[in-house]
């Protein structure tokens, strides 16, 4: 019997090691004493816990309710001019670093902004706005395919049976939506629960601190590792609960197998659709526009002459490239095995490999960071190891994305071409050069671009361990904000945004090829 690639197993073992070791460090090495345990029950912990859940719940509701309306509007508006642009615009927040988005949101809705909302954005209001900025477009993009999954024949039947708007919703749209909505809601909830940079910059006072930020504060300001350990364990527990709920809700849709093409926009256009889409597009575009204008008005020339800014940009770039390389390589090694298993009909085992690799996202970066702090501090200073730590954590966080993006492409490729390649005797480099790479480069390009940009804009572990030698661009930006040098911060934010967008575009083209 021919054995397939087994590269996944060492990678899985390594993944288990780098995730479980810090968790073991949290559980065992924290040297908790009875006095520390009283902290469990303190008002501080309860307030952070309550606020974490409350803001995540509100953020999810405020993102999803409009997202359903906007996705429905997009599904009903048919093929209007600018549809492709709106969909691209909705993808932009995915690559916008959180600190940058916060500045944009403040630029639009802050007290000095274009559309001031209340007296101050700092606190719950600002946190919610920033979370909706990220998650509304994300949810729209995840929900829209649900409408496209409604078979064209169902729309036609609905028309023949004389469904009105309400009956169309009840018999056609809601059943389709119901399949995917819990999964999307839990994803958004998880993202908001573990959101760090947004809460750090817009909240942080005792009344608006989440567990994630409380971990940071107890390590960085109070220098109280046992407290950080307790908070990290609590946060980990919450995330595991949400992840378990996600597993529970991922049930298979009960549909007939579809072979007919899905025709969009066969039914009548709805009149409210276009204005609604416009409003949503403005909501996403305005913060980016405000930020760009502020950056251009700031002391750009003076700032761009400073080596500190360029040094920070260089470190960010290095982190981005390294994380992208590590995550893409690890993802590919894992997927080679799982795709091969799936092709041989061992789909269950393939699924386990991919789930195992994605499950790391359950562990929030700050929890990992705390774990490494506890684990390393008896032997070395974690502050000296900040760059490998940041690269590693970001690669871990990017891995689920690589799995989701590269996995289907690789599986389809193997299913279609494996036997052909074997019968032609295509192996090794020739096969990679002429068959695998041309087919897969698009998915590789997208994966690498995504992980690179996420890592570049990340303000997480770097905030825990960053020092003046290892200041990244997002950290510099955060320090400038903290020192109330808003005009300088605007320039840094502009540069970071430009770098992220340009790099995303560039990597996707260079790796993905011209038609990516």
């Amino acid at each position: 019997m021919i054995r397939g690639p087994v590269s996944a197993y060492p990678v899985l073992a390594l993944l288990a090691l780098v995730t479980l070791a810090p968790l073991a460090g949290l559980l065992g090495g924290g040297r908790l004493e009875t006095a520390d345990l009283a902290f469990w029950n303190s008002a501080y912990v309860w307030r952070a816990l309550r606020f974490s859940l409350w803001q995540a719940t509100l953020s999810t509701a405020l993102s999803l309710a409009p997202a359903i309306l906007v996705a429905r509007a997009l599904a009903h508006a048919g093929d209007f001019t600018g549809r492709a642009f709106v969909l691209r615009l909705f993808a932009v927040p995915l690559v916008v670093p959180a600190v940058v988005a916060v500045m944009g949101v403040v630029g639009v809705y802050g007290s000095q902004g274009w559309l001031p909302l209340g007296r101050s954005l700092y606190g719950l209001n600002g946190i919610l706005l920033a979370h909706v900025f990220f998650n509304l477009p994300l949810a729209v993009r995840l929900l829209l395919p649900l409408w496209q999954s409604i078979p064209a024949h169902h729309w036609q039947l609905g028309e023949q049976l004389g469904f009105d708007v309400r009956q169309r919703w009840r018999h056609l749209e809601w059943p389709a939506l119901r399949e995917g909505l819990p999964g999307v809601a839990l994803l958004v909830f998880m993202l908001c629960l573990t959101s760090f940079a947004v809460v750090l910059t817009l909240g942080g006072g005792p009344r608006s601190t989440t567990l994630e930020v409380a971990i940071y504060q107890s390590l960085r300001f109070d220098f109280d590792p046992p407290r950080a350990v307790i908070l990290a364990l609590l946060q980990l527990g919450l995330c595991v609960l949400v992840a378990l709920a996600t597993l529970r809700w991922q049930r298979l849709p009960e549909v007939e197998i579809d072979t007919a093409p899905i025709l969009a926009g066969q039914h009548r256009r709805s009149r409210a659709a276009l204005p609604l889409i416009m409003i949503a597009a403005l909501f996403v575009a305005l913060p980016l526009a405000a930020l760009t204008l502020d950056a251009l008005r700031g002391p750009a020339l003076e700032m761009l002459g400073r080596p500190r800014l360029w040094r920070a940009a260089g470190i960010s770039l290095a982190i981005g490239f390294c994380a992208a390389f590590v995550a893409t390589l690890a993802g590919w090694l894992l997927l080679r095995t799982s795709a091969d298993l799936a092709r041989r009909g061992r789909a269950e085992r393939a699924g386990w490999i991919e789930t195992g690799a994605s499950v790391v996202y359950v562990v929030p970066p700050l929890v990992l960071g705390t774990g490494y702090f506890v684990l390393l501090s008896p032997y070395v200073s974690p502050f000296d190891w900040v760059l490998p730590l940041v690269i590693g954590v970001n690669a871990l966080m990017g891995l689920p994305f690589v799995i989701r993006c590269l996995g289907p492409a690789l599986r389809q490729h193997q299913a279609r071409h494996e036997w052909l390649c074997q019968s032609l005797g295509l192996r090794g480099w020739a096969r990679w050069r002429w068959i695998d790479w041309p087919v897969l480069r698009r998915a590789f390009g997208l994966s690498a671009a995504m992980v690179c940009v996420l890592a570049m804009g990340d303000l997480g572990v770097i905030a825990l361990f960053g020092s003046s030698d290892s200041t990244t661009l997002p950290l510099l930006l955060y320090q400038q904000l903290g020192a109330y040098r808003t005009d300088e911060a605007a320039v840094s934010a502009g540069l970071l945004l430009l770098l992220c967008l340009a790099l995303f575009w560039l990597i996707e083209r260079v790796i993905g090829g011209r038609d990516a």
């Binding site: 078979p151 036609q156 039947l157 023949q160 049976l161 009956q167 119901r178 007939e256 197998i257």
Partner: protein, 236 residues
């Protein structure tokens, strides 16, 4: 009776010349449409059902023109090859939709639904979901809905194309009886000339957006005059 008079249509993106269909189907008659794929068989059905708007021409049902009526008001029921049923509703609700999209039925209407189930030999499966029954049973449920809708025209868009030969034959025979019983004018698109022999007295051959030939099924299939029909059938 269904009368189609120079019904014209052209796909916006297509370079092929405009289609134009003329055809008459008597009440109680089932006419089979065969022809190469892309010839316009399904397009004709979708024009009749109102999913597509004709450029010109007339459609009359029992004498009155219907080409300007909205889809829901046309005296027509169409059955597709798949996706005739909504997967989240049980078979009973799927059939009941044919009477009231609100699904609130009075007792006479409920009796009508049950009678339709009995007529298509699905009695007892009312509470099953479409995913829990066979492909043939799903198509029977779609036919039951056509019965409760009681429209004078029935269109079958390769309705049995996904079924095996034995089941297909069974369902075609059922349709044939229902069409005679309810005096419907029926058009059936099929890829299998065999289906036409079972189903229809008359068969039409569709080519390049036109009814290129129409004759008794036996004559059209056994002694085709048109070279295109011979090419399509191949083995002759």
């Amino acid at each position: 009776m269904l009368e189609i008079d120079s019904l014209a249509f052209r796909y916006a993106t297509s370079t092929t010349p405009s289609m134009s269909f003329s055809l008459t189907v008597e009440a109680g008659e089932l006419v089979c449409l065969i022809g190469p794929s892309g010839a316009g068989k399904s397009t004709l059905l979708h024009l009749l059902a109102g999913f597509l708007q004709p450029g010109a021409g007339r459609i009359r049902v029992d004498g009155s023109p219907i080409e300007l009526l909205p889809v829901a008001e046309r005296p027509i029921t169409i059955v597709f090859q798949q996706h005739n049923l909504f997967p989240h509703l049980d078979l009973y609700a799927n059939v009941a939709l044919g009477i009231a999209p609100s699904l609130s039925l009075d007792s006479d209407q409920r009796d009508a639904v049950d009678a339709a189930f009995a007529r298509v030999d699905l009695d007892g499966l009312q509470r099953r979901k479409p995913g829990e029954v066979s492909g043939g049973q799903r198509q029977r449920a779609a036919l039951a809905r056509a019965l409760v809708r009681a429209r004078p025209v029935l269109l079958l868009d390769e309705a049995f194309g996904a079924l095996g030969p034995a089941q297909r034959r069974e369902l075609i025979l059922l349709v044939k009886t229902l069409v005679t019983e309810r005096r419907m004018a029926a058009l059936m698109v099929s890829h299998q000339p065999r289906d036409a022999r079972i189903a229809a007295e008359r068969t039409a051959f569709v080519l390049d957006g036109r009814i290129a030939a129409i004759d008794s099924t036996g004559a059209l299939l056994d002694t085709p005059e048109l070279p295109a029909v011979r090419d399509y059938l191949g083995e002759l």
